[in-house]
Amino acid sequence: MAAFVARRILLLIPVLLGVTVVTFTLTRVIPGNPIDLMVSPLASEETRERIAENAGLNDPIWIQYLRYIEGVTRGDFGDSFVTNQPVLDDLTSRFMPTFELTLFAMLLAIALAVPLGIAAAVWRGTWIDHVSRLLAVFGVAMPVFWVSLVAIYVFFFLLHWLPAPQGRISVMIPPPDRISGLYTIDSLLTGNWQALKSTVQSLLMPAAVLAFAAMAPLARITRASMIEALESDYTRAARSLGLPESSIVFRHALRNAILPLITMIAIVYGYLLGGVVLVENVFAWPGLGRYVYNAIASSDYPALQGFILYSTTVYVLLFLLVDILYVLLDPRVRL
């Protein structure tokens, strides 16, 4: 197992190299001149030229690339043109807010979609099945951005149930002491109930909006793989042995259906990392999504490249986790 994990992590190197080639080329091809961000619009042509020269923007693209790679190996992703901070520091400080948001969104989506998918499989063709399909269609069809605005309108403006978009915690309340970087966990660990309440209130709406979008594929794969399991030979044999239906559904069938579900969870999580860009902007969430949104809007090449490397690493590790889970859960999978 350790050798397997090590091999997969080594595999990251060629993957990341490939990604840097593509992103580096793309960021140089898309319109927008980064020099405009680095110097005042009032600066003279000579100043612009001098700064571009110093920043290496006048060198051939492959020299720029090699210089970049050399930096990356030292953990230097360059400085953001916008924040003037090292990109790696920027990304690291924005990772936890995004992780907290997407984690809760995912947990919420799983908690709703899996029971719904099971019910739709067990009672397929009945109203539960139709309702679950309808929900799935809505979740996919409605743009996350629009759902966010509607949610704010209803739950904040009309009902006053939840606070206005305010980031991770109310500005009136100091954040909990940092232990893990996740406000929910940290406020729980420190017994800071005031911070916990505000954190959960702030988290609820953006997480629910993301979960709504994530639910559809999860419910569908749960339904499909549960139906497959429930109609399999081994389920028929388990029924012929007189095992109770609850055991058939929740042990025998679900235990098999969970494998494709895990893969889908990883895929959907990757998709959430995309959807989070819009949601973080709407909810003023100080995470990676907002950072990358600003980076795109301002041609902040180092930030963009850093983000892509970062998220590629997250994906690769995520699917490594999936493979490890398969080994643990499916006796047929060998390393």
Binding site: D233, A237, R239, L241, L329
Partner: protein, 346 residues
């Protein structure tokens, strides 16, 4: 025929298991069983009046070509028909109760404890993510209330009984780590865990290679000898019938066409279909390459009128196209559903 519901309930719960009763020794008695498949646009009668009985300790073979309804009949007995199918007539009496009158909870109490079933593809019949031991322990807990050490000991006994060496190692195995023959033995151990009165075996040896087939047949024979286990064995292999069965029923297009003791079927088959099957088998053994009777099993949704075999029957007359023959007794213990069996016997 009809018994009041209360007496049926009582007999289900009767711990003494009424093995013999005044109406004659019958473990299972299927009469006029009809099963329909309801599909969105049409409904098809897959079984159109199946009669079959099994006496205590008897091994009854059911043979027939693919699609003739053998599996559907067995599933109807244990109440596991696919959701599109339903029983549209007849009765299935197990000792004294009509199984068709029981609700799903009562059927579940019977399945795996008094009637068990084993299947064609043994490895696919075992849940891929559970060990053999895990399955045995669950079944023992549900039907016998055994747990812990007692369950383990009993599970090992059961595995040893079906001829699996080193039961404690087998208990730790997953289905993919078993050979087909071992998996079928494990499935039989599961099926027998609470000493059922009846075992339905749906092509128990079809997926296995020949030597393993033979071993499984020996095991089933041993079970009959040791615990007088009544068995209904579905197969399309007359070799299995000859080795294993006492009596055989020949099924075609959802009905039994002939039923007789095994010796008699081979010596004096009465129905043209049975004769065809046997001679097709003889030809296969001489490897002349001819597979079976000319023609095909009819599409059940376009079932021919009259005798369903008449389009393929060289002896068909006008009456065969119009009226459906019923099973009638041609000799003691031998019945044939053919208008012309008397003439053909000569």
């Amino acid at each position: 025929m009809e018994e009041p519901a209360t007496s049926m309930l009582r007999s289900v719960n009767d711990p003494l298991r009424p093995g013999v009763n005044s109406s004659g020794e019958r473990v299972l008695s299927i009469e006029g069983l009809r099963v329909e498949f309801r599909l969105p646009d049409e409904s098809t009668e897959v079984l159109c009046g199946v009669d079959l009985t099994a006496r205590p300790g008897e091994i009854v073979g059911v043979v027939g070509e693919s699609g003739s309804g053998k599996t559907v009949a067995a599933l109807a007995v244990v109440g596991l028909l696919p959701s599109a199918a339903h029983v549209s007539g007849g009765s299935v009496r197990f000792f004294n109760e009509n199984l068709l009158d029981l609700d799903s909870r009562q059927m579940r109490a019977i399945r795996g404890s008094r009637i068990s079933m084993i299947f064609q593809n043994p490895r696919a019949s075992l849940n891929p993510v559970f060990t053999v031991g895990r399955m045995l322990r669950e079944v023992l807990l549900v039907h016998s209330g055994l747990r812990g050490r007692k369950a383990t000991v009993r599970a090992q006994e059961l595995l040893a009984d079906v001829g699996l060496p080193d039961p404690s190692a087998v208990m730790r195995r997953y289905p993919h780590q078993l050979s087909g023959g071992m998996a079928q033995r494990a499935m039989i151990a599961l099926a027998l865990s609470s000493s059922p009165d009846l075992l339905l075996a749906d092509e128990p040896t079809t997926a296995l290679d020949v030597t393993i087939q033979h071993q499984i047949i020996q095991l089933l024979l041993r079970l009959r000898k040791r615990q007088n286990l009544t068995q209904i064995v579905i197969t399309h292999n007359f070799g299995v019938v000859a080795e294993l069965c006492d009596r055989v029923a020949v099924m075609y297009a959802g009905a039994i066409l002939e039923e007789a003791p095994v010796g008699r079927i081979f010596e004096a088959p009465g129905h043209p279909y049975t004769r065809g099957l046997l001679s097709a088998r003889a030809r296969v053994e001489q490897s002349s390459g001819i597979r079976s009777i000319p023609g095909q099993v009819p599409e059940l949704k376009n079932r021919p009128t009259g005798c369903s075999f008449h389009p393929r029957c060289e002896h068909a007359r006008d009456i065969c196209r119009v009226s459906t023959p019923r099973l009638e007794s041609s000799a003691p213990n031998h019945s044939i559903a053919c208008h012309r069996w008397r003439e053909l016997a000569q």
